[in-house]
Homo-oligomer: 397 residues x 2
C-alpha cells in the first residue's frame, strides 16, 4: 500500500474541483473530468427496477440470495445480445457490480508473482490494483513508471496501438478498447495481432470493453470477434456507460471455457471460486434493470442516450479543432484526447479550471505517455457542453 | 487457488440439494441450510427503493457515480442509529455491497505475510479468502486445518469463547458475534478480554456483527461498546439479515480513525484507498433502501420481521430439545446449533436430506470443531418451519 503514488486520480480531481468551488462559490462549474453519466435512464429500464423493488414486499416477488454468478436469464441475455455470433455461452458470463470491481477480482485470480503490461496511457485502476496486489515494483520518479509494469506506449505516432515487436512478454496484458483515455478503438487487424502476440507468449489478455457501445465504425466491440481470442482473453465490461448505470452498479466479466492455464486447468473454474468466495452476486434490482436494457425497446432507448453523448463529443472535438489543436477520440468513445504540445498537463488542468471553471483530466494522470494531453469527457447536459465550448474558445482564441 | 479444499461450502450444499430434487421430484424440499431470508421486505423500504429507481428517469432525480465510501447521509444514519453513544462518525463508516465482499477487501488491506486467527467453527469466508490471499498455509488432512491459521476452538465447554491464554498471537483475529454457525453472542466481559488480548498482542480484530439485530439480551451489538475497541477493531456488518437485503446487497465496514498500524499510520487511510481503487460504491438504489431501514418506521418494520424469524428459531430449538438433544444458539441469532454426539455431521446432513427432504448444514463445514454438530437456519416461512419440525420429530422420535 505504501508504494501507491499520491491520491487515486479521480478522488484527487474531485478534491481540486471542490477546493475551486470553495474559492469561487458563485462560479458555475462544468464537469468534463470524471466520465460520469448525466442523462436520465430510459423509463422502460427504471420501471423494471422499480417494479422489481416493489415486488420484494410480496411473498411471490421476494427473492433472497441470487446465484453468485448472476441471474442466468441476464447471463444468457448478455451472451446472446452483446456476443451474438461469437459463441459465448451464458455460463461464461459472470454478472458483477461493475468493471472496476471485477478488475480487482481478476487481480485476486492471478498468482502473486505475475507480470503485467498496460497501455500507456490507460485507466489507472489497472496499475493501482496491481500495486495493491504487490506486482508493480518500485515507482521510479525519473520515468514516472513502476519498475515491474510494462508500459505499452500508445500515441498518434503508432496509431494508438503498441509496438508489439518491442513489447516485453508478460503474464497479463490489460487492454482497453475503445480506450480510456485516448478514445481510440483498436481495429480488427490490430486486435488480431494482439491475440497472436498473447498466444505466442502464453499471456492472458484482460480486455476492457466498457465503452464498446460507443463504437460507430467497424472496430470490434468485443475481443471475441477475433478468432482464437477465447483461448487467451477475459473480457470485462459494464452497464455504466452503456446504460447510465454508474450509480446503479452493474457489469460483467466473460471467462471462456477455452481459456486454460499452462497446466491445462480451466481459468473459469478458479474465477467461479473467487466469485463465490469474495463476492455474493450483483444487486438483484440492478440485474432486473440490466435485463430491461437488453430487451429490444430497452436497447433502442439506451442507443438514443449514447447518440446524445456522441453529439456532445462532436461539439467538444470541433471546439478544439477550431482552435487548431490536434484532437483524437470522440468518434468511438465518449472521450476526447487533445494534444497541448510543450505543456504539462497538470498546468493545463489548473489553467482551465482557474480561468473557465471547467474540470478536466490531465493526461499524465493516465500514465507518462499522457503528458501534454488532456482528456475531456462528453458526458454532460447539452447546455453545459455548449457553454464549456464557448468558454474554452474564448480562453484559447 | 489450488490450495482451496473442495467446493465452497454453500455452493456444495446447493448442489447436493439440487441433486436430491432431481432424484425426488415430488418431494417438498424445505431449506434450513443457507441462511437466506424469505420474508418480504417492509413496504416502506421497497417503496423508497422503487421511488429512487423511478426518479433516475428524471433530470432532477438522476445521479451517476456516488462517493465510493457511500452516501454520507447513509453513513451518518448508520453511525447515529446503530452506533449511538459509541462515538463512531459517519466518515468512519464505509458502505458496501455486503459483508462477504468487505471481508475480501479487508484481506486486500492486509500485508501478504499476516497471520490470521479464526473462531472454530466459523463462517467459511474468513478462511477461504485467507487461502486465496496465500496466508493459510497447507491443508492438513489429519487435523482438518490449514497450517498457518490459528483455530480458536469455541464449544459448550468454554461457553463458545476461546481460551485466550493458549491462543497464539496473530496479526489479525476474525471474530463473529452473534456467531455464525453457533448462534452464540459473546458477552461484554468476553469481548473486553478479546480487546485486551488484541491490544497486548498488537492484533487487529475484524469483528463481524452481521447478526447483531437478532440479539435479545444484554450482549453487545457492536465491538465498539467495549472501551478501547476503536484502537484495535474493524467492524463488518450488513443489511442482509437485518432487513432481508440478501439479494439487494448492502453492508458496511467501520474503520475507526483511532486504529493505527504499529508505525502510527491510520488504517482508515489505506482502507479508503482500497475502496476507491477496487470498489466503486454500493448500488445507489440499495443505499436508498438502507436509509429507509434506518428511519424510525423502517427500523420498527424490520424489527417485526426479525421477531418472526426469532419465533421460527424458537420452534426449531424446541423441536430438538423435545428430542433430548443439546441445543445452542437461536436466542441471539437466527441459527440453531445442535449436537449429534458420536455422529459425523455430513452423515447427519445426508440422513436428514434423504429421509425428511430438509436441507441443513453440517457443522464440520464450518471447521473441525463443528464435527458432530448441525446448523439449522431459522430463515423460512412459518408453515415450512412447522412442517420441518414435524418431519424432524418423526425422524428422531
Amino acid at each position: 500500500m505504501e508504494n501507491l503514488r499520491n491520491g487515486y486520480l479521480f478522488p484527487e480531481i474531485s478534491k481540486r474541483a471542490f477546493d475551486h468551488t470553495q474559492k469561487h462559490p458563485d462560479a458555475r462549474l462544468i464537469r468534463l473530468g470524471i466520465g460520469d453519466t448525466t442523462e436520465p435512464i430510459p423509463d422502460i429500464i427504471t420501471s423494471a427496477m422499480a417494479e422489481y423493488a416493489k415486488a420484494l414486499s410480496t411473498i411471490e416477488g421476494y427473492n433472497g440470495y441470487g446465484d453468485e454468478q448472476g441471474n442466468m436469464a441476464l447471463r444468457v441475455a448478455i451472451a446472446e445480445t452483446l456476443y451474438r455470433n461469437m459463441g459465448i455461452k451464458g455460463n461464461e458470463v459472470f454478472v458483477s457490480d461493475g468493471a472496476q470491481c471485477d478488475i480487482s477480482r481478476l487481480q485476486m485470480l492471478l498468482g502473486s508473482d505475475v507480470t503485467v503490461a498496460v497501455q500507456d496511457p490507460s485507466f489507472p485502476a489497472y496499475i493501482d490494483s496491481s500495486v495493491i496486489f504487490g506486482r508493480a515494483g518500485k515507482f521510479e520518479e525519473e520515468t514516472g513508471k513502476y519498475g515491474n509494469i510494462v508500459y505499452m506506449k500508445c500515441s498518434p505516432e503508432n496509431k494508438f496501438f503498441p509496438n508489439l515487436s518491442i513489447t516485453r512478454k508478460t503474464d497479463v496484458i490489460f487492454f482497453c478498447s475503445p480506450n480510456n483515455p485516448t478514445g481510440n478503438a483498436a481495429t480488427k487487424l490490430q486486435l488480431q495481432r494482439l491475440v497472436e502476440f498473447a498466444k505466442a507468449n502464453g499471456s492472458i489478455i484482460i480486455y476492457d470493453s466498457s465503452y464498446a457501445a460507443f463504437i460507430s465504425d467497424e472496430s470490434p466491440r468485443s475481443i471475441y470477434e477475433i478468432p482464437g481470442a477465447k483461448e487467451v482473453a477475459i473480457e470485462v465490461s459494464s452497464f455504466s456507460k452503456f446504460a447510465g448505470f454508474t450509480g446503479v452498479r452493474l457489469g460483467w466479466t466473460v471467462v471462456p471455457e477455452e481459456l486454460k492455464y499452462t497446466n491445462g486447468f480451466p481459468v473459469i473454474k478458479d474465477y467461479d471460486r473467487i466469485v463465490c468466495t469474495c463476492f455474493n452476486g450483483a444487486p438483484s434490482i440492478s440485474q432486473a434493470g440490466g435485463l430491461a436494457c437488453l430487451s429490444p425497446q430497452g436497447y433502442e432507448a439506451t442507443t438514443a442516450v449514447i447518440a446524445y453523448y456522441k453529439e456532445n463529443a462532436k461539439i467538444i472535438a470541433d471546439t478544439f479543432r477550431s482552435l487548431a489543436l490536434k484532437v483524437y477520440g470522440g468518434e468511438n468513445a465518449p472521450y476526447i484526447w487533445v494534444h497541448f504540445p510543450g505543456q504539462k498537463s497538470w498546468d493545463v488542468f489548473n489553467e482551465i479550471l482557474a480561468k473557465t471553471h471547467i474540470v478536466t483530466i490531465p493526461g499524465s494522470g493516465f500514465g507518462p505517455a499522457g503528458e501534454e494531453y488532456m482528456r475531456f469527457s462528453a458526458f454532460g447536459r447539452r447546455e453545459n457542453i455548449l457553454e464549456a465550448s464557448r468558454r474554452l474558445k474564448s480562453l484559447y482564441k
